[in-house]
C-alpha cells in the first residue's frame, strides 16, 4: 500500500489538490468524500454527468442503479456512454467511463430498475442518494425509501429546455421529526394526472439542459458531504432553470415537512413493510394505465 499522510496518498494529494486547497473542502472534506457512499439512481442524462464529477471529486464508493441498455438516441446527452457500447447495460457502460477517469474508487453496479422490494436493501449500503430517474413512480419510491432509511436525497429533473432541482429529507430525520427536511410527498402530496406526464422521448430534451441539472446535483452532493457535520442545513428550496428565459435561473422557497405527510409525518402510512411486502403499488398510485419500468 502507498504511504499515507493524514489519511491520503501522495497520488490523492496530486489528483485532488485543486479542490483540497479550498477552505470549503480542505483535508477534512476530502476525507469525508473518501469515506462517503453515494448511490445514483438512473444512469441517463442526469446520472452520467453527476457520476463523472462525483467520481472526479473522489467519492469513495459510488453505486449506480439502472436496468436499461444504451441506445443511440441516448448519446446526444448521456455523455458517459459511447457509440461502441450501444446495447450494453447503462450501468456497465458508465462504469467503464468512470473507471477510466478515476480507477481509485469502489464502484458498485446494480443492473436492474429499483423496485419497492429492493430499494431499502440497496439504500442501506449508502449515505446519500441522487434521483436521476425519469418518471413520477420512481420519484415517489426513491423519496419514500430515503425517508425510511434516513438518507438525504438530491433530486433533479429536466424536460425540453427546462430543469428543476431540490434537496429533500435534509437533514434526514425519522418520520415525525419536524426538524427534518421535507420529502417529495411534502412538496407533491398527490401525483400528477398520468396524461400530464411528458417524457423526454415525447417532449424532447436539450443535452446541456439536463447536463447542467446533473452537474448541479453533483455540486449539492459535494456540498452536503464536505460540510462540517454540525453545519445547519439551508432552508428548503427549489431551483428552476429555463434555458430560453431571462433570467435563466430562479430560486424558490419551499415549505417544511407536512404534518400529514404519508411518508415523513408521525402518522405516516408508508412503512418498511408496505414497501418490502409489495403492498405499496407506485404504478397504481401514479395512475399509469400500462405497466412501465421504474
Amino acid at each position: 500500500q502507498a504511504p499515507q499522510r493524514f489519511g491520503l496518498s501522495n497520488a490523492d494529494f496530486k489528483r485532488y489538490g485543486r479542490q483540497l486547497i479550498m477552505p470549503q473542502v480542505g483535508l477534512h472534506g476530502q476525507l469525508r468524500l473518501k469515506a462517503a457512499r453515494v448511490l445514483i439512481v438512473g444512469a441517463g442524462g442526469l446520472g452520467c454527468p453527476a457520476a463523472a464529477y462525483l467520481a472526479g471529486a473522489g467519492v469513495g464508493t459510488l453505486g449506480l442503479v439502472d436496468g436499461d441498455t444504451v441506445e443511440e438516441s441516448n448519446l446526444h446527452r448521456q455523455i458517459a456512454h459511447s457509440t461502441d457500447r450501444i446495447g450494453m447495460f447503462k450501468v456497465d457502460s458508465a462504469l467503464t467511463n468512470l473507471r477510466g477517469l478515476n480507477p481509485n474508487l469502489n464502484y458498485i453496479p446494480h443492473r436492474a430498475h429499483l423496485t419497492p422490494t429492493t430499494a431499502l436493501d440497496i439504500f442501506s449500503n449508502y449515505d446519500l442518494v441522487l434521483d436521476c430517474t425519469d418518471h413520477p413512480t420512481s420519484r415517489y419510491l426513491i423519496s419514500d425509501a430515503c425517508v425510511l432509511s434516513g438518507k438525504p436525497l438530491v433530486s433533479a429533473s429536466a424536460l425540453r429546455t427546462e430543469g428543476q432541482l431540490i434537496v429533500l429529507n435534509n437533514p434526514p430525520r425519522a418520520p415525525g421529526a419536524s426538524e427534518g427536511g421535507p420529502c417529495y410527498r411534502c412538496v407533491f402530496p398527490r401525483p400528477p394526472p398520468a396524461e400530464s406526464v411528458v417524457s423526454c422521448g415525447e417532449g424532447g430534451i436539450l443535452g446541456p439542459v439536463v447536463g447542467v441539472m446533473g452537474l448541479l446535483q453533483a455540486l449539492e452532493t459535494l456540498k452536503l458531504i464536505t460540510a462540517s457535520p454540525d453545519a445547519a442545513a439551508p432552508p428548503p428550496s427549489l431551483l428552476l432553470f429555463s434555458a430560453y428565459s431571462t433570467p435563466q435561473f430562479r430560486n424558490v422557497k419551499l415549505r417544511s415537512r407536512r404534518a400529514d405527510c404519508a411518508s415523513c409525518s408521525a402518522n405516516h402510512t408508508v412503512t418498511e413493510s408496505s414497501l418490502t411486502s409489495g403492498s405499496m403499488d407506485y404504478i397504481a398510485f401514479c395512475g399509469v394505465t400500462s405497466p412501465i419500468d421504474i
Binding site: G47, P136, S157, A158, Q164, P191, V252, K253
Partner: protein, 105 residues
C-alpha cells in the same frame, strides 16, 4: 367602474403551452370578486381559465376548482403554501408563477 389590480403571471414547465405558448403575461383583474371579497389566488386561477387559457384541455391545469396535482404555485418566489395557498390576497405587482413539475432525466 370597478377597480382593477395588475400583476405579473408566468407559466413554466410546459404550462405555457396551454396559454398561447407564452410564458410571461401582464394580467389585470378585478380587485374584488362578485361577492366583494378581495381578489385572491383562487379568484385568479378562475380568471386565468376563463380569460387567458387557449387550450381546451382544462384538466391539464385545473382539478376541483384549484390547480391540478403536480403544479406548484409561487407567490413572489415562495411556494404558495408559505403564503396561505389559494386564500392569499393579491397585491399590485405581485409575481405569480405556475410551474408544472418535470419528471424527465
Amino acid at each position: 367602474m370597478a377597480d382593477t389590480i395588475k400583476i405579473d403571471v408566468e407559466f413554466t414547465g410546459g404550462l405555457e403551452l396551454l396559454f398561447s405558448n407564452q410564458r410571461n403575461h401582464k394580467v389585470s383583474l378585478p380587485a374584488q370578486d362578485q361577492d366583494g371579497k378581495a381578489a385572491n389566488i383562487a379568484f385568479l386561477i378562475k380568471h386565468l381559465c376563463e380569460n387567458l387559457m387557449t387550450d381546451q384541455k382544462r384538466e391539464l391545469f385545473l382539478l376541483d376548482e384549484s390547480v391540478r396535482p403536480g403544479i406548484l404555485v409561487l407567490i413572489n418566489d415562495a411556494d404558495w403554501e408559505l403564503e396561505g395557498e389559494d386564500q392569499y390576497e393579491l397585491q399590485p405587482r405581485d409575481q405569480i408563477v405556475f410551474v408544472s413539475t418535470l419528471h424527465g432525466g
